[in-house]
Subunit: 286 residues, 6 copies
């Protein structure tokens, strides 16, 4: 696998800090303050307890570093690693109070993002040998978009739009207001900048020629049968990218990909991926 670039911490550091504050509240970690000696330094292991693909390790471990700026994180199997239950993927050494106070925040991030990567991985494996790419959507968790999109890339998927601001995607509601898909595309082309791509959702294959003639970059084929998809791919004939969407599961993906669409977009990669089971265990003292 070619390496997925790490996110710059500026893109997630405020999130991690806010998550720590959410957990610490005003009173802080009552349990650790009462039980753990302030000057105790220790080492803990970040452990994966189920098979899956790791994602978000840096963001997760930032939680430890924010509570103990002197903490040292040694990454053993970073983002993109496929691990078996019981694998230690990082070791963290620092003040024991800080590590325990950060543990849940770190594990919540790691478990969620690795869950996204693991589900994405599952789908991309199902398409092995086919050229179709798996992409995620804007159906992400509030404030986690940068990290979840990263996790999708780590899982072998690609990213669709990051927001309302980086491309045009004309959907049913826009089409209804414009009166037709063609008119909606026409308005989009007239208003957006020269570096903005335009994709349009097609409900009726009869609309395809019209929008293609206006030079759309991609067509979104929502909730179509494999037959309809095949037909659409044939009509488009390479003049635009074709994207299938609509309740796609890991099991159903291959049949859709075999219709020849370029992309399959799957909301559940980000909104319904079960968390990967991860934990943080203090190393036994020697």
């Amino acid at each position: 696998m070619s390496p997925i670039p790490e996110l710059p911490p500026l893109l997630y550091e405020d999130l991690v800090r806010a998550a720590l504050r959410e957990d610490l509240g005003v009173a802080g970690d009552l349990t650790s303050a009462a039980i753990v000696p302030a000057d105790l330094t220790t080492t803990g292991q970040v452990l994966v307890r189920a098979p899956g693909r790791v994602a978000g390790l840096c963001a997760a471990c930032r939680a430890f570093e924010l509570l103990d700026p002197e903490a040292r994180v040694d990454s053993i199997a970073g983002d993109g690693a496929d691990v078996e239950p019981g694998t230690v993927i990082a070791e963290v050494t620092g003040r024991a109070q800080a590590l325990l106070s950060a543990e849940r925040t770190a594990m919540n991030l790691l478990g969620h993002l690795s869950g996204v990567a693991t589900l994405t991985r599952e789908v991309t494996l199902a398409l092995q040998g086919l050229p179709t790419r798996v992409v995620c959507t804007r159906k992400t968790t509030p404030l986690l978009r940068a990290l979840e999109k990263h996790a999708v890339r780590v899982g072998g998927g690609a990213n669709h739009r990051f927001g309302l601001d980086d491309a045009v995607l004309i959907k049913d509601n826009h089409r209804a207001i414009a009166g037709s898909a063609v008119e909606a595309v026409r308005r989009a082309r007239a208003h957006v900048g020269h570096l903005v791509k335009v994709e349009v959702e097609i409900e009726d294959l009869a609309d395809l020629e019209g929008v293609l003639s206006l030079g759309v970059d991609a067509v979104l084929l929502d909730n179509m049968t494999p037959d309809q998809l095949r037909q659409a791919v044939a009509i488009v004939a390479g003049r635009a990218l074709t994207e299938a969407s609509g309740g796609v599961t890991a099991e159903g993906a291959r049949a859709i990909a075999e219709t020849g669409v370029d992309l399959i977009s799957i909301g559940r990669l980000t909104h319904s991926a079960p968390a990967l089971d991860v934990s943080f265990e203090l190393s036994p003292r020697r």
Copy 2:
């Protein structure tokens, strides 16, 4: 069902605003700006497309109100309603551009929180007739804790700790540092305020008497077999609450509840609930 109190908007408004900014970026909603007339007012329907329990409707609809302070939200089936596919749960009237720009943020919140409530509901139904309560954990999504805990309540569950700051929960790592469960409880009791409860995770039933003699409020029985749980319940004999945890599924919950434990805590309620399928559709113009 007795009504679950709404959250005060102060607890989630900043989150919704930040989520809108995440989606709008600097350029804003390119598609709506290009296609939708600025002065068009319209009505849209919030629709549930799968069976489930609604949660988070107010927080979700705040997205519409933040982009159009004049928008009117008419709630038809609010938090706690059990709905069938196709149910319209709210109607929103306002500037069309604003409604479409807020749509995804609103649906992401509603789908996620309703997913949490729906899964919780499923588990609580499985325990019908038994006194055992289902509780969630601190395994929540960063910055969504207040809303997810609310969704659990809406689903018929109860809340465990909200953070590190509102109760003591002694887990394996603390026990390891203190040397024993008893010593950990002793330290906690000595340090925390008079309105703070103390729960301790027990690995070995032999530890039960010791911690009970120190007056713990609850014991956490992690990853125990039904037999062990039954034994623990017998030893505790009402002197503290008993809580079972560890990979509990909706299917496995009843067997655990039948051991007589007071509480079953389930992380997946918040970290792995699949989103409920919801959408926002502009009403056909008349």
Copy 3:
């Protein structure tokens, strides 16, 4: 002129609030507190004192509304209006203390953004009759990008990238690292999503064929002579958009446009536009 959509207030409200705080400090408006009766309500006029095009009126007037939520703003000549010295473009009625405290913040925004629109207008007028479009760059004032890009649109220009996140623009530094323009484009194509366009800066016309064969969407021709530009346009032959840049002034723009380039990008539209002279005058009391 077809109307330019207003920005959603969410995109600038925090900026205006922060600008008011910057001016008010901890002590607030000493002068108005000392001189203006707290209960005095008054009306003031927003006046343009030099010829130009108005932009940013809504954002500017939000300053008045933030200090007096009851204030009423009556817009007379909004964004896009070309005005002569002495034109009253809005009337604001509210608490006199609040209006005077907000005056400078409002005028600073209005003067700056109208200055951007006015300069842009000047350049677009110079190209009248030619198909070449004027675009701005990312050389914007920190935190004012959304508003400045809006002002450019109001002035008749178009927008280039809004940030590092919405398109790929390969410049000299990237090319140097990749080894060649072609290799840089190849890497970009391999990594970015299907809705992301790719533009590449060309220093040597010999590179054109290579990058065109990889399907770039636009080529940036920096600091080229009209002859070189003409040559480039001929080579590209419609296979990508052509963009000229490099110290273009209002005077020099037409000669460049006549080479047939599709776009001229001009940093000074946003970083060096002189402010339009605007002021806020309390109406004489009747």
Copy 4:
């Protein structure tokens, strides 16, 4: 030149961080992520391409440091240096991805602030040999006031009020409400603290004696002819500072200064200074 103190980073660090976020958005720097190897370290030069005076170098370079905390900035010609085209004023060594992602934010700040210093320098040079001081106004760019005021000092100018909170400045609107300049001054003197100075704008020289008798610290003479200014200076006779304002240009400043006014305030120093042309170039690899 006696050195101008550096600003404490606390006064601008949040601005630089927010400006980086504005440019990075949610997706980050697509181009650098795709093209630049994550582990590549490089050195780049901050270059001035036009004659001018440098200002804001520390604030600008903070952008590099925020994206790469390990980056090393070697300042060669800092704030206050007068440089010729082609001068390298700093070298920055760090992770290439981070440097390229920060480049535009850094250059936007440096170009703008150096533009302010350069224009201020031009005006102060025009007054050489005269005791009159050049001061800026509150006509600054939102959120950049601390930095722009610093740039004015670096350019040889002085600062007028920093906000509504540090001195009283009675202008036409206040005078109109109070009924007369004298009454306005009386109210100000009665209400403000003992460490607050009071300046009053005078429209009619007949008002001068009245306000001087109340002990104003300065009089603002707006849009007066040199003859009127001379007359005002004679009447004031050192009892207060005299300040001329109103559309002063670098060319017209000397004639005004020769009237003997103590200060000339010029809004365009901050609101209309063209940016200085600066750039960041990766050093050729050796």
Copy 5:
């Protein structure tokens, strides 16, 4: 008493919102959510239980309005009122849950600020008939400076500097670095703007002539005996304001004022004023 202008809410609204969040945490008001019906509307009275002067009523009541935007606050005895135990100073009508959740935040602000006004009032009464003014210092509570300075004005006192940014105050540490008080004043005069006043702390009366000859605006006479103060006043002879400071109590203030100093500054007005006893009582239901 001439009315003290209200502060613009922009100066304290964020503080009140943050204080509410500090009290509500993530879980919100457990008690009210459990006990108070969500739809119950009620009226409560803000009651003063000890003699004192009211200050901060608007800021305090903003807490109610932030939790219930529909709440109505009827102010009966606002800032500046001198009240006896048992006086109802405001009535608040709104959702009972919201009022009870905001109660403590509101009362904490009101009690603290009224405490400051009450102590200030006590000192100013002690000086009745004398021209000496009582001023507060920068020894304020973090983030409460605007409100505490307001409370001092409400109590009949005046404000000294609001921050490090609105005037120069040369103290012992600065003098030590500069080498002498005269040299410190010389440096200050050379660097600060024309609307900035300069005050210098004098330890040795022999320094007075030197600093007066440089035109300082005020001299701070710290920890001097009445005799020394009298001597200093005689030397200064109206050439600058004279300010006495150093552990002044309400009892000791008059003796100091009788030395003829213009100002007495008292840190304890803001850092040690006991809170006024205030409470919020729901009106008995009729």
Copy 6:
């Protein structure tokens, strides 16, 4: 004294940063910028000038570190130390400008928090030999709760609730709405989580049996005479904690404690503790 754990800086760092900004404003520290050479490094001493107990030293000194990240703080007598006038409790070495700019913010925090600890210490000493614990309330200064609660612990007291979110406390207003204390307790028990304790304020001793039978954890006895308290303690007979409150002073505390109550809560510990006199003095240069 067993050591009181330090607070994690995350709980107060934003407060200290905001307090510095409140003091620095936009213009920064005019005095130090004018007088203190930028490159001067110096050492200063944190000095206590009155007898008392130190609290908040780390938070206070963070102010120095935030303005000079290279500053070195050597703590001599940290939180919990009882000091005599003239004691040097810390030495700080760093850039002189930064130290002087941070001085007031640091001393304001240290003086206030040490004042809280000193008053708490005074009360706890008054109870020596008795088992009754002194606790603080939610009558804290906005945004200082975490630090003030810490200072109370440092002074030998204990903490009551940290917020509305960590325990139930039923007061008169809740009781009035519920109709009776018993009904209020019943509702609380039915709704709150298993780790939440419930305390109820009792006005009439006749209510005691009812609430005890519902298993309340503590009863709050407000404004009762020693006789009433004694009676209440006898009725409760260990079935719940007993807490006395209501205008308790250091002098009156012992008599109350002797009634046998478990806890005495005192609002004035946090809302009315006079600041401890502390200062920061630059060491004489050697």
